[in-house]
Symmetry: C2
Subunit: 246 residues, 2 copies
């Protein structure tokens, strides 16, 4: 068994750069940690390679490169004793389905990962990130998604031009507003729609707000101004998906 031991190894130096979004975008690959995520990537055919700690093994039919602890620690974003780091290929879907989530300037990686996880649970076809959203391949996004990033189609697009295209194709643009709109649980979702979720602090930007067709709101106690963005998104998706189980 050949083991890479040097931090100066060409492959290791190339992989270390993937912590930086710029290099993830150039190479179209990204790092994943924890066995669970590596197995999910494998199942979805998106795993390119695994770095494995010397004297350990992983039972997956994929290219393996054995490395020292030192190297895993350099590449890892976790503090724990890890045995594997996977290299996954980005998947760029060719189109989008009928049930969309549009994210306008969502910034928190935990919120994005959680929305992806809920979108998989509640039968959303495609998540579309506006250009100003946090990077999809940020390690915190991937972890919070609990592997569902490999199961839900995600695209990055300019939202304004996309919304105009969607409206021309009879998609309903659904926004959230605490002051006006229809109560969520009486709202009838059409066949083709996009639920728009805004920034954590500022909500939906004015430009996008002007393109909304219908607003919905989640009834809540007056002492609270709002919910966490991933909670609001998940409650809306939960209500929407009820039609699939009724």
């Amino acid at each position: 068994m050949e083991v890479i031991t040097s931090l100066d190894n060409k492959l290791i130096k190339r992989l270390a750069k993937l912590k930086d979004k710029k290099y993830r975008d150039l190479e179209d690959i990204f790092l994943i940690e924890t066995e669970h995520l590596i197995e999910e990537a494998y199942r979805c055919g998106m795993l390119e390679m695994v770095l494995v700690l010397e004297n350990e093994d992983i039972n997956l039919d994929v290219k393996k490169v054995y490395v020292t602890k030192n190297i895993l620690n350099k590449l890892s974003s976790l503090n724990s004793n890890i045995k594997y780091i996977g290299i996954a290929r980005k998947f760029i879907p060719k189109g989008y389905g009928n049930r969309l989530i549009l994210l306008d300037n969502l910034q928190d990686p935990g919120n994005l990962g959680t929305i992806i996880r809920s979108a998989a649970a509640f039968n959303i076809d495609t998540i579309i990130l506006g250009n100003n959203c946090v990077d999809l391949y940020n390690d915190k996004v991937i972890r919070a998604s609990e592997g569902m990033i490999f199961h839900v189609d995600c695209l990055r697009k300019d939202l304004t031009s996309l919304i105009i295209e969607l409206k021309n194709n009879n998609y309903m643009m659904i926004g959230t507003d605490v002051n006006e709109g229809k109560v969520l649980n009486t709202f009838k979702f059409p066949l083709k729609f996009a639920i728009i979720i805004g920034n954590e602090g500022n909500g939906i930007s004015l430009e996008i707000k002007n393109l909304v067709d219908k607003n919905i709101y989640i009834p809540m106690n007056k002492k609270t101004e709002s919910l966490n963005a991933s909670i609001a998104a998940s409650i809306i998706m939960y209500e929407m998906s009820k039609v699939d189980y009724d």
Copy 2:
């Protein structure tokens, strides 16, 4: 205006220790950052003191101590340029209401903060943390709660003995289970109940599971095994609170 400039100042050294749960427990006070949280604490009568950056001010009728930037940076858990740090008093409620959330070994501070925020929105009376949960006064919990930690009663208790007491007082213990139970949106919540939310990785512990009266589940796509704990908790609270708005 007197300004504390030394990191060796007795008060500053005492406050620096509050980053550690042990000292928060000993003193029954905790640090809060961001103007929004300080104002929420003030409005709820829980603000003891504010450290203010020299040459700045804050318009609150509370004890102010002026300090240097150096001192704020030492006490802050954020990297940004802050002007204030508040010292808030813990509030230990005397009892609990009819609508309870019980948290069994919840570990992620972001999840706890988000559950507190949703509990305020959806009319939960009291949140009860089991002894093994993350600390309520962790800075990440307080930030994720968006100030709602000052609006929702929170208690820490031994869950097993509390549940026995609750059952003797006709509270229904409601668990979640993906394999059995009643679909959430057809479930009728009684007047007095406790929704039990388990650990992020392992769910509800076996000891507590044995004390559950009814299980509910949230219908979802078979490719997902579960939802994030704060998402599941919030969707259940959302459904429960509908009776208040119908």
